[in-house]
């Protein structure tokens, strides 16, 4: 089986090319732009599944090479290339982006204001997200990284909740400052490429080669710059405060993208760029980074405990899960890194589902506060069922996706740091506590009779079912994902191996 020529480029550029079309047809007919966005996202998903299938069938996962590579000179005089490709890690991140984009675009049926602009921005967002995961030229990577901010800012600021302007600007400033800090580190390495490679180059592999040869003190500074840049996106405590605001104010489909894909950009950057580029600094700091991960788990867990807004609660649970990603990333062994990557994928699906459910409550019950939405189980049986599944998956119940990830990450941490890391297990307990408590209050609360509410509609059922099937499938048959992850994870782990 072979991919079509430029198939990955098509996956990447299709949404952005459809974006102006969605805008203009949307001026004529609102339905048209929604259907166009759905069809384009569907085609993108099918194409990326096709790529993943080829990846699997041809056994590409046995190496860490890049496949489906499109490499062209862009501005050779300053060493900038158009260089996209995927290895196992990027492949599953592309899949995650396309799956969640389709789910989110289907779940956008509650958006009625300036639909043409909404879908145009949404498609723009989809391209920039995929672009982050397939670019192996750091200049291109940075363009996509920054491009994500633009549609995201407007999607929050225009279609968001009551405090949307504040949330959008806070999101923009935080992440933009992070990217600028990251950019400085990129440039420092870039300016040193001539002394190692013999010419300017933004090629990731050349930059990694250069970064690894810098003096240790400089490596430490640059690693911290990258870690802050990526860490704001992850987010790591104390740079996390943009996240609850942005998640709560964003419309639900956009929260899905925020939690499901946008946060993964941070983890992806740490694993793909920061660790390989400055391995010596990372080795030195690994223990502190692990502590940051543990702080994330506990801090977010405690804060989540007393949230009444269900969306805010899910947002904090995201931060806790991202703590596990940070912890797993720096363990320096295959299970740990694989666990981190697995968590990125699983969390995308689980929190995607949970945010979509929060959106359902918002639109059907007109509130997201736990006391208001409690006791409607008999009116909304399907919603409650999905909520229970999503909640169980989120707390890491064996047999569901997040368990595999947590297990692997903690196993990896245990290999590296021994018994002292057992404290993380209490984090898992905390995690279970706030989710179970929330489910108990919402699903099993006293019944309310007076209100008339509708249950899920067909498109929602379809997209929730797909997500649920994936969550269960990844829980009971991990090789489905591990096949893709194993070799890249081993390669990344080797940079930190003692």
């Amino acid at each position: 089986m072979e991919a079509f020529p430029f198939e990955l480029s098509i996956v990447l550029w299709l949404p952005i090319l459809a974006s102006p079309i969605a805008y203009f047809v949307g001026l004529a007919s609102k339905k048209a732009s929604r259907w166009l966005a759905i069809i384009v996202s569907l085609i993108d998903l099918i194409l990326s599944l096709h790529l993943a299938l080829i990846f699997w069938v041809n056994g590409y996962y046995t190496t860490t090479n890049l496949y489906f590579v499109d490499l062209f000179n862009w501005v050779p005089s300053v060493g900038i290339t158009y260089y996209i490709g995927v290895d196992g890690f990027s492949m599953i991140m592309v899949l995650l982006s396309t799956i969640l984009s389709l789910s989110a675009v289907i779940a956008s049926n509650h958006i009625h204001d300036s639909e043409h602009l909404y879908y145009a921005l949404f498609l723009l967002l989809e391209t920039s997200l995929i672009g982050v995961f397939v670019s192996f030229d750091l200049f291109l990577f940075y363009i996509f990284w920054e491009l994500v901010l633009v549609p995201m800012y407007f999607l929050i600021a225009v279609w968001g909740g009551p405090k949307r302007k504040y949330a959008a600007i806070k999101f923009f400033i935080y992440t933009h400052v992070g990217s600028v800090i990251m950019l400085i580190a990129f440039f420092y390495v870039y300016w040193n490429t001539p002394s190692v490679i013999g010419m300017y180059s933004f090629n990731l592999f050349n930059m990694v080669k250069t970064g690894a040869q810098l003096a240790l003190t400089i490596q430490i500074y640059l690693f911290l710059a990258l870690f802050i840049g990526f860490g704001i996106k992850v987010p790591i405590v104390p740079f996390h405060t943009w996240l609850p605001d942005a998640h709560v104010e964003a419309p639900s489909p956009i929260s899905v993208i925020l939690a499901g894909v946008l946060l993964k950009m941070g983890g992806y950057g740490i694993l793909r760029i920061a660790l390989p580029m400055f391995p010596n600094a990372a080795k030195l700091l690994a223990w502190y980074l692990a502590i940051i991960g543990v702080i994330n788990i506990f801090y977010a867990g405690f804060v989540a405990m007393w949230q009444l807004d269900i969306k805010r609660l899910i947002a904090y649970s995201s931060i806790a899960h991202m703590g596990i990603v940070v912890l797993g990333s720096v363990t320096g062994n295959t299970p740990g890194v694989a666990g981190a990557i697995y968590m990125m994928f699983a969390h995308g699906l689980i929190n995607g589902l949970l945010f979509l459910l929060a959106g359902v409550y918002k639109h059907h019950v007109h509130s997201r506060m736990i006391p208001d939405i409690a006791g409607l189980t008999h009116k909304m049986p399907l919603t409650s069922a999905f909520l229970v599944i999503g909640g169980f998956a989120g707390l890491g119940l064996p047999g569901l996706a997040a368990f595999v990830a947590e297990f692997l990450a903690i196993l990896g941490a245990f290999y590296t740091w021994g018994l002292s890391i057992a404290i993380v297990v209490f984090g898992a307990v905390l995690n279970a506590a706030y989710i179970l408590w929330a489910i108990q209050r919402i699903v099993f609360g006293p019944q309310k009779e007076e209100e008339e509410v509708k249950d899920l509609c067909i498109p929602e059922i379809i997209s929730f079912t797909i997500l649920t099937i994936l969550i269960v499938l990844l829980g009971i048959y991990p090789p489905l994902l591990m096949t893709f992850i194993r070799n890249p994870a081993t390669a990344i782990a080797q940079y930190l191996a003692p």
């Binding site: 862009w74 005089s77 300053v78």
Partner: protein
């Protein structure tokens, strides 16, 4: 007669062609304004193609090298677009042909100034361009604001010219020559009077500073740019300033490079002050023209990094020339788009642009592209020029300067983005400019420059490689 003309170097031929254009423009009066415009456009177009086709040559002190070709073509392209927009803007001016003639005359001056190795010849061209632009600002004789703008420009320009001339006399006193090649050779030996050279350089930098719009010689800029008709402002920002930078490059890179240890730190300080002050002042502007004037000052700050970070980096000069070109193109788009929007809504206030993104789609789109390019957003052409320039600054070893420039660039995003916010993201009850269309002669320059910015952004490499071969 004809064979002899063909032996003339390209510059003289172009001057001859343009002179004929001037005569034609004056003879064809207001009633035949479109004929005057068409003839002037043909003259400019022919000049462009002639210059593109002319081989490099030198006759006496007059040189025609890649540098003068590149800069002259910037002037001519600017004039081509300006004459077009001028034809719609000055509909009520009696001597319309005169305005075109003055712009063509300014072109002669500017082309002479950048095609010479003799300081006197440079200065003569400079002043010819200056006189023509003073007059053309005042072409609306009934408009007191335009007259004030012209007077201000005239006074400041004359002072600047006088200062520069005075400075040149000091340099002549120290080196005994007005030929840049000889000056460079004399200075390189090292037997010169430091005080004479130092005083001369201070005066020369001040004089050029007025023309380049660098702080603290910038005070005339906002008023003059604001008072002049849009097209003329465009001409000042795009062509007149380009000439100042080009003359500066000739003087400092070619003639005065042995004393770079004197002028380099001066320019470095001026660059920092100019870009910072320009950007901070632009933050507070609410009038489009004034905002663009301040942004033009800030960009002058970036461009004089050419002198402030003088070193032996090929990227510095290439990036600087690229940014000079991009500054011209971006300012043409910005001012003419502002003229278009002002024509449609009758206001120059940014706050009145509210909702124009919905009613004036094409111009708003290109204006947005342009503002993003001015802010240096990749992958637009304005980004590449800034990027290569700053890369050159770093290569020359002045990381600190580059850092300040980058921070400034980040600040500037705020006021550019604010305009975009008003265009697209502010809601209004009554959208302005519904169904009104501006003149097509505004639209053509906007679309052409906008496409240039996008296309050069997608593929800047050939231009960068070409610019690396260009030396003043």
């Amino acid at each position: 007669m004809l064979p002899e003309i063909s032996y003339l170097p390209g510059i003289y031929t172009v001057i001859l062609i343009i002179t004929m254009g001037i005569i034609a423009s004056i003879l064809l009066d207001r009633k035949n304004r479109w004929i005057a415009v068409i003839i002037a456009e043909i003259v400019v177009a022919v000049s462009i193609f002639y210059l593109l086709d002319t081989p490099i040559s030198q006759t006496g002190y007059t040189v025609f090298d890649e540098f003068s070709r590149f800069i002259s073509i910037i002037f001519l392209i600017t004039s081509f677009l300006i004459i077009l927009s001028l034809s719609s803007e000055l509909t009520d001016v009696p001597r319309f042909g005169l305005a075109i003639a003055l712009i063509l005359a300014a072109n002669i001056g500017m082309i002479v100034a950048v095609s010479s190795l003799n300081i006197i010849q440079i200065v003569v061209g400079w002043e010819l361009a200056g006189l023509a632009s003073y007059a053309v600002i005042a072409i609306k004789r009934k408009d007191p604001i335009a007259i004030e703008a012209a007077m201000k420009f005239f006074i400041v320009g004359s002072i600047g010219f006088g200062l520069a001339l005075f400075g040149i006399s000091f340099i002549f006193g120290a080196t005994g020559s007005l030929n840049l090649v000889e000056i460079s050779a004399k200075l390189a030996i090292g037997s010169y009077d430091y005080n004479l050279i130092f005083t001369g350089l201070i005066l020369l930098i001040s004089g050029l500073g007025f023309k380049m719009a660098i702080v603290p010689f910038h005070v005339w800029i906002p008023d003059t740019y604001d008072g002049a008709p849009y097209s003329i402002t465009t001409f000042l920002a795009a062509a007149s300033k380009t000439m100042a930078f080009a003359v500066g490059l000739r003087l400092f890179y070619h003639g005065l490079n042995p004393v770079s240890y004197i002028w380099r730190p001066l320019f470095a300080i001026l660059a920092i002050i100019t870009m910072t002050y320009g950007n901070l002042a632009a933050l507070a502007q609410n009038k489009m023209k004034r905002l663009l004037a301040w942004s033009s000052i800030a960009h002058a700050g970036y461009i004089i990094l050419l002198f402030g970070a003088f070193g032996f980096s090929a990227n510095l000069l290439a990036g600087g020339l690229f940014h000079i070109l991009m500054h011209a193109i971006m300012k043409i788009l910005a001012f003419i788009a502002a003229a278009y929007l002002a024509y449609v809504i009758g206001s120059d206030l940014i706050t009145d642009y509210t909702g124009l993104g919905r009613t004036q789609k094409l111009v708003s789109f290109f204006l947005t592209i342009d503002l993003l390019a001015l802010a240096g957003i990749p992958p637009l052409a304005g980004f590449w020029s800034k990027y290569i320039l700053f890369l050159g600054v770093v290569e020359s070893g002045y990381v600190f300067l580059a850092l300040i420039a980058v921070i400034n660039s980040a600040i500037s995003l705020y006021y550019y983005a604010r305009i975009i916010k008003f265009l697209y993201f502010e809601t209004v009850e009554e959208p302005k400019g519904v169904g009104t269309r501006g003149p097509i002669s505004y639209l053509i320059p906007v679309v052409l420059t906008g496409l240039t910015i996008i296309l050069l952004g997608i593929n800047p490499d050939p231009l960068i490689n070409f610019l690396k071969t260009v030396a003043p």
